[in-house]
C-alpha cells in the first residue's frame, strides 16, 4: 500500500489533533512527543508537522493527502481543499477590536479621513470583511502580537482571532464586531479525496467521533 501523507498543525491545535486521530484508530506513536522531528512515519502513514498557516498550501498542492487545519487558516489562504469534517475543537472567533479608551476615536478618524488603519495577521480576511461592509481601510500586515499596533498608534483597530478574549482584555482592547467562527477542520486534497479511499474512510471515522461526542 502506498503512503498516506497527513499534515498536522504545530501549536495549539496539535495535541487535540493527535488525540482525535488516535481515537479514529490511527497509529500515532511518536506524535505526542516528536521532539525536533518534523516527519514521523508509522507503517503506511506519514505525518508532517507544519506551521498552521502553511497547511492549506501543503494540501492544495498535493504535498500531503489530508490534514487537520483551523478554519482561520483556510479562510485566510483561500486555496482549493475539501473541508471534510468540522472537528469541533480549537474554537475561536475572528473579531474586530479597538482600544477600550478609544471610545469613538476610530469612528471619528474614519469620519474625518475616510479611512481606517487596521492591523492584522490575516490581511485577506480583513480586506474581505471591510469590502463586505463597504469601508475603506489601510491594512498593516503584522506577524504577531497584533495588540501592540493600536497601542503605539500604527493602527486604529485590529482584526485577530480570540478564543477567550483574555489577551484582548489584558491589552485593554474591546470587541467592535465579530467576523467569523473558526474550529479545526479535517481537510483533504481534491485529488486524494477521490483517488485514495483511505481519506474518505478517515473522514467518516472522524465524523462519527464528532457526532458521538456531541
Amino acid at each position: 500500500m502506498s503512503l498516506l501523507k497527513i499534515a498536522l498543525p504545530k501549536g495549539n491545535l496539535y495535541a487535540d489533533s493527535v488525540q482525535m486521530l488516535t481515537a479514529a484508530g490511527l497509529d500515532t506513536s511518536g506524535l505526542s512527543d516528536p521532539g525536533r522531528l518534523l516527519v514521523i512515519r508509522n507503517g503506511e502513514l506519514e505525518f508532517y508537522i507544519v506551521r498552521p498557516t502553511d497547511v492549506p498550501a501543503f494540501v492544495s498542492l498535493g504535498g500531503v493527502d489530508c490534514a487537520i487545519c483551523g478554519r482561520d487558516s483556510l479562510a485566510e489562504q483561500e486555496l482549493p481543499v475539501a473541508e471534510l469534517v468540522d472537528l469541533g475543537f480549537g474554537a475561536c472567533m475572528f473579531v474586530v477590536a479597538e482600544p477600550k479608551d478609544a471610545d469613538q476615536s476610530a469612528k471619528e478618524h474614519y469620519r474625518r479621513r475616510g479611512l481606517l488603519r487596521v492591523a492584522s495577521k490575516y490581511p485577506n480576511i480583513t480586506q474581505r470583511y471591510y469590502d463586505s461592509i463597504g469601508a475603506q481601510v489601510e491594512i498593516v500586515k503584522i506577524h504577531g502580537n497584533v495588540e501592540l499596533a493600536p497601542r503605539c498608534g500604527i493602527a486604529e483597530r485590529i482584526v485577530d482571532i480570540t478564543a477567550t478574549g483574555a489577551t484582548l482584555r489584558e491589552n485593554n482592547l474591546v470587541v467592535v464586531d465579530k467576523i467569523l467562527d473558526s474550529t479545526a477542520r479535517f481537510v483533504g486534497n481534491l485529488a486524494s479525496v477521490r483517488t485514495d479511499v483511505r481519506v474518505r474512510r478517515l473522514a467518516h471515522r472522524l465524523r462519527d467521533l464528532v457526532e458521538l461526542a456531541a
Binding site: 498535493g62 481534491l190 467518516h204
Partner: protein
C-alpha cells in the same frame, strides 16, 4: 541583471519541447481517429464577449488595445468555440467534432506556485446530445490519456443535474438567497462537507434537503453509486440527469471502461455552464487535476445560437507530471541525432549531398569543417 520570463511563464528548450510534441502528436492522432478535426482560436477575445458567455472568473489576463477595447487572453477554449459556432456556423454544419491544442492564460496571485500559461489538449462535440454523445466524450478522454502514455488514471464521472435541481428547489421553497446558493455551489464543488453542513444549519434548511446536500458528495463507486444516488433523491423528485448518466454508464461498462472510470457525485464543476455530465481526471498518488469535461447544452444560447455541446480539456503540463510520477520512459524519435556533412572547401557540394540525404528521410546538418563536425557529432543532447 540576468533577464527572466514573467512569473508563471517559461521557455521550453528542445528536450522538453520534443517530449511535449510527442505527447501532443499522440493525442492528436487519437482524436483524429475518432473523427475530430483541428481548429485554432485567437489568443485574445473581446472582454464583453467572454462576459456574455458567462466567464466571470477573477483570474483573467486583461489588456487594452489602441482602440481602448478591453481584451482578454483566453482562459479556456470552450467559450471561444461556442462563440465561433454561434457566429460562423450554420445549423446544417452540425454535428461537429473539433479538437485543439492551445495555450491558455490565467492570472494568478504570486506566491501560489501557479503557472499563468499552460497548454490545453481538448475536444468539443457540437450538436450531439444524449447518452451516446456523453459516452463518446468520456471514452475519447480515456483513449487520449492512454495514447499520451499514461498507464494509470481514473475518470470520475457525475452529473450536475441533481444538485442544480436541488439548489433551485431550495431557492423557491427555502429561506435562502442567490448568495447562499453560490456559496453552496462553491462548497459542493470542493466537496467541503463541513462547509455544506454549516450552510444548511445557518439557514435552518429543511432536513430532507440538508441530508441530500451532505450525503451526495459521499456517493461514489461504479454503477451501484447511481442506484444509491437515485434512492436518496428520487423520493424528493430530484433525480434529474440520473437516467442519462445511467445510460451513459451502461455504455462505458459495456465496452470495458469500468477499469478507467468511476462514478463520483462529489464531482461538481465550479463553472455554472455545465448542464449534465461532468467529469474530472486524476491519477493515484498525485494530488493534481489532469483535466475535466462535461456537457454544456445551454452555452451557445448565450451567444444567440442553440445546440447541445460537450467536451473536455486536459492540461499537457499535468499529463507530463503524471507521466514523470509514473516513471514512464520518454522515448524520442530517431531523427534527434542528425548526420553531419562537412562543407570544407566545397559548400555547394555539401548542401547538394545533404539535400539528397534528406530526400531519403535522413536528418542532416552541415558543418563548416572537420573540427566543427566532430563537435556537432559529440553533442549527444540538446540543452534543457
Amino acid at each position: 541583471m540576468i533577464p527572466v520570463t514573467p512569473r508563471g511563464f517559461k521557455d521550453i528548450l528542445p528536450s522538453e519541447a520534443r517530449w511535449r510534441e510527442s505527447i501532443v502528436t499522440a493525442a492528436q492522432n487519437c482524436m483524429s481517429l475518432w473523427g475530430y478535426a483541428p481548429i485554432e482560436t485567437p489568443t485574445l477575445e473581446v472582454g464583453e464577449v467572454l462576459e456574455q458567455g458567462g466567464e466571470l472568473s477573477p483570474n483573467l489576463f486583461r489588456l487594452f488595445d489602441v482602440d481602448n477595447e478591453l481584451l482578454v487572453l483566453r482562459p479556456d477554449v470552450t467559450l471561444q468555440v461556442a462563440r465561433m459556432a454561434a457566429s460562423r456556423l450554420a445549423d446544417n454544419d452540425l454535428p461537429l467534432r473539433l479538437r485543439y491544442v492551445q495555450p491558455v492564460f490565467r492570472e494568478e496571485k504570486s506566491l501560489k506556485a501557479q503557472a499563468r500559461q499552460f497548454t490545453q489538449i481538448g475536444v468539443e462535440s457540437l450538436g450531439l446530445a444524449g447518452a451516446v454523445a456523453d459516452a463518446e466524450v468520456v471514452l475519447l478522454a480515456i483513449d487520449t490519456l492512454a495514447a499520451c502514455g499514461l498507464q494509470e488514471f481514473q475518470i470520475y464521472v457525475g452529473t450536475v443535474g441533481v444538485l442544480r435541481l436541488l439548489l433551485d428547489r431550495c431557492l423557491t421553497t427555502q429561506a435562502v438567497d442567490a448568495q447562499w446558493q453560490a456559496a453552496m455551489l462553491a462548497a459542493c464543488h470542493q466537496g467541503s462537507v463541513a462547509e455544506i453542513k454549516r450552510l444548511t444549519v445557518a439557514v435552518g434548511l429543511d432536513s430532507k434537503y440538508a441530508r441530500v446536500f451532505e450525503e451526495l458528495p459521499d456517493i461514489n463507486g461504479k454503477g451501484d453509486a447511481i442506484v444509491r444516488c437515485r434512492q436518496l433523491v428520487e423520493p424528493l423528485g430530484l433525480s434529474d440527469g440520473l437516467d442519462q448518466l445511467s445510460a451513459t454508464w451502461e455504455i462505458l461498462a459495456g465496452v470495458g471502461a469500468e477499469r478507467w472510470a468511476s462514478i463520483d457525485f462529489s464531482v461538481i464543476s465550479a463553472y455554472d455552464y455545465y448542464t449534465g455530465l461532468v467529469f474530472e481526471v486524476y491519477v493515484p498518488g498525485l494530488g493534481v487535476l489532469l483535466g475535466s469535461g462535461g456537457r454544456y447544452d445551454r452555452m451557445m444560447q448565450r451567444f444567440g445560437a442553440s445546440a447541445p455541446a460537450a467536451g473536455f480539456a486536459l492540461s499537457l503540463e499535468a499529463v507530463m507530471r503524471a507521466l514523470l510520477h509514473q516513471g514512464i520512459a520518454i522515448t524520442m524519435p530517431e531523427t534527434d541525432q542528425p548526420n553531419v556533412v562537412v562543407a570544407g572547401s566545397n559548400a555547394v557540394e555539401a548542401f547538394k549531398q545533404a539535400a539528397s540525404m534528406r530526400g531519403k528521410g535522413k536528418a542532416v546538418v552541415i558543418a563548416e569543417d572537420q573540427a566543427r563536425a566532430v563537435r556537432t557529432a559529440r553533442q549527444k543532447r540538446h540543452p534543457g
